[in-house]
């Protein structure tokens, strides 16, 4: 049977290696992109309100 792409040996260790949550980096990363995106959505929605007045 031909080998599949996922059959390769995993040099990063076994699949049950515990995931490092890296909470601080995770929160910073999502805030970095989330805050500007939230600002853009809220600003846009404030203009959308005029559509149905």
């Amino acid at each position: 049977m031909p080998s599949q792409p996922h059959d390769t040996v995993n040099p990063a260790g076994p699949a049950d290696v515990p995931v490092n949550p890296a909470t601080g980096r995770l929160v910073f990363g999502w805030l970095l992109v989330g805050i500007p995106l939230g600002y853009g959505v809220v600003t846009t929605l404030s203009r959308v309100g005029q559509l149905f007045q």
Partner: protein
């Protein structure tokens, strides 16, 4: 510059894959600025004293360069890895603004074409594709959702850039609401300063992505996910196809046609959004019930629909399959266009709802495409294949406005039309979507003769 190499960006054991989407979003939110060029278009027209067309070419060059650079550089992006390619994208995108600023300050339009159009356009193309295949490798269990998250950023980038640019232009010009009226237009000098600011700011934010992107180790799979237990579908291959072979397949060109037709149809609304809603609600006296400010709200609503569709529909495709979701984009899209054409003028709510759903399908077709390519061709060179597919976007960017403007020009003068005048345009879009629907049904799994031999794949993995 070794730190940019693919080998230096390999994730350590236990790396949290949810750190990757913000890194990808950091790039896409920045390059999404390309959809917000209308903020300073009037200012540039005034500064250079030229026509709308001459200034509009800046954006057209950027979009054409996006498609070309993604197609030409796709294989390099795949080989070099996301960190190096994102760094190159950040450099080109930032430098494009700086060169563009020099063109504005010296009143040399050709420098703006070269800066924002050519150099920035290259940054757009490389930046667009660079994190996509990496995301799919980190989320093999949910590739549609993963690409949806990143490509959503491209739609969301305009939502940020538009109000931010307006605020910066007012700041640079010392805008005074008491003395400057509603018809205030920014000076060229302030647009130059805006370009300088955006160039530096976007480079810095994109560098966050460069520093935080990681590639998974070969053979890595998410904890608790076993590929052998994944749902089997004839449309999802476990084989790999190179970019060179992919473009020889019928399926690639059918996906290309589907994307081209869906994007062309979406541009039908996007291009004309503001005048269209005013024309649809124009009374017998020639006055529209919708003023420019309300029309701007409609354009904003479309931007949100475009962004949301990129995430929602692409995530949905993980559940119902890529082929089915494209048939929804095209089939339901055609039906909604018919409703819009014949009943849109009867109700504002109906008009806005139909337009927003159609634009969400437009956005969804972009974000679902990489996952569809992964299903058909595997992950081996999916970034490079995606790059080649984006030429469909460039082609649609030319064809869409040509069709819409050509048909509307034959109907009458801007500001005098009504809903009836839009029938030829909207029904043409229905025809395009119907052709796309047929093309979508013809997409089949790729023939085995195009699959990469396992030995070559193994040596390629060792090389990386």
């Amino acid at each position: 510059m070794n730190w940019l190499d693919r080998s230096r960006s390999m994730a350590p054991p236990g790396f949290n894959r949810w750190l990757i989407p913000p890194a990808a979003l950091a790039v896409h939110l920045c390059i999404g600025q390309a959809y917000a060029t209308s903020v300073y278009k009037s200012a540039l027209i005034g500064h250079f004293g030229l026509s709308q067309t001459a200034i509009g070419i800046i954006f057209s060059i950027a979009i054409v360069m996006l498609g070309l650079s993604a197609a030409i550089m796709g294989t390099w992006v795949e080989r070099s890895g996301p960190r190096k390619s994102m760094f190159v994208a950040a450099s080109f995108w930032g430098a494009g603004f700086l060169v563009g600023a020099a063109g504005i300050f010296t009143s040399q339009l050709w420098l703006v074409y070269l800066g924002y159009g050519v150099i920035g356009g290259i940054g757009l193309g490389i930046g667009y594709i660079s994190p996509v295949s990496t995301l799919m490798k980190w989320f093999p269990d949910r590739p549609g959702m993963a690409t949806g998250m990143a490509i959503m950023g491209f739609g969301g980038g305009a939502l940020i850039a538009s109000p931010m640019s307006s605020a910066l232009l007012k700041f640079f010009d010392g805008f005074n609401p008491a003395t400057d009226g509603a018809d205030w237009i920014a000076s060229g000098n302030s647009v130059g300063k805006l370009f300088l600011t955006l160039g530096v700011l976007y480079f810095a934010v994109m560098m966050y992505g460069v520093l935080n992107i990681r590639v998974p180790a070969p053979g890595w799979t998410p904890r608790g996910w076993d590929p052998s237990t994944a749902k089997v579908s004839a449309m999802v291959t476990t084989k790999q196809v190179s970019a060179a072979n992919a473009i020889k397949t019928r399926s690639f060109w059918l996906v290309w046609a589907v994307l081209f037709l869906n994007v062309t149809a979406g541009i039908g609304i996007l291009e004309q959004a503001s005048p269209m809603i005013q024309d649809f609600f124009r009374g017998a006296d020639g006055n529209s019930a919708v003023n420019a400010a309300v029309a701007a709200g409609f354009v904003g609503m479309l931007s949100i629909g475009n962004m949301a569709g990129r995430f929602i529909w692409s995530s949905t495709s993980d559940v119902i399959g890529r082929k089915r979701i494209y048939m929804v984009y095209l089939g339901a899209g055609a039906v909604f266009y018919v409703v819009l054409a014949f009943f849109g003028g009867s109700s504002m709510l109906l008009f806005v709802a139909m337009a927003v759903v159609i634009i969400s399908f437009y956005g969804g077709s972009f974000s679902t495409a990489p996952a569809y390519l992964k299903d058909l061709f595997g992950t081996f060179q999916v970034g490079a294949i995606h790059g080649r597919l984006l030429t469909a976007w460039s082609a649609a960017g030319i064809a869409g406005p040509l069709i819409v403007n050509g048909l509307l020009d034959a109907q009458g003068k801007p500001g005098t039309m009504n809903a009836h005048n839009y029938l030829p345009v909207l029904l043409t879009m229905v025809g395009l979507l119907a052709i796309g629907f047929v093309a979508s049904t013809l997409i089949r799994p790729v023939d085995a003769k195009y699959h990469e031999p396992e030995e070559e794949l193994a040596s390629a993995r060792k090389g990386s």
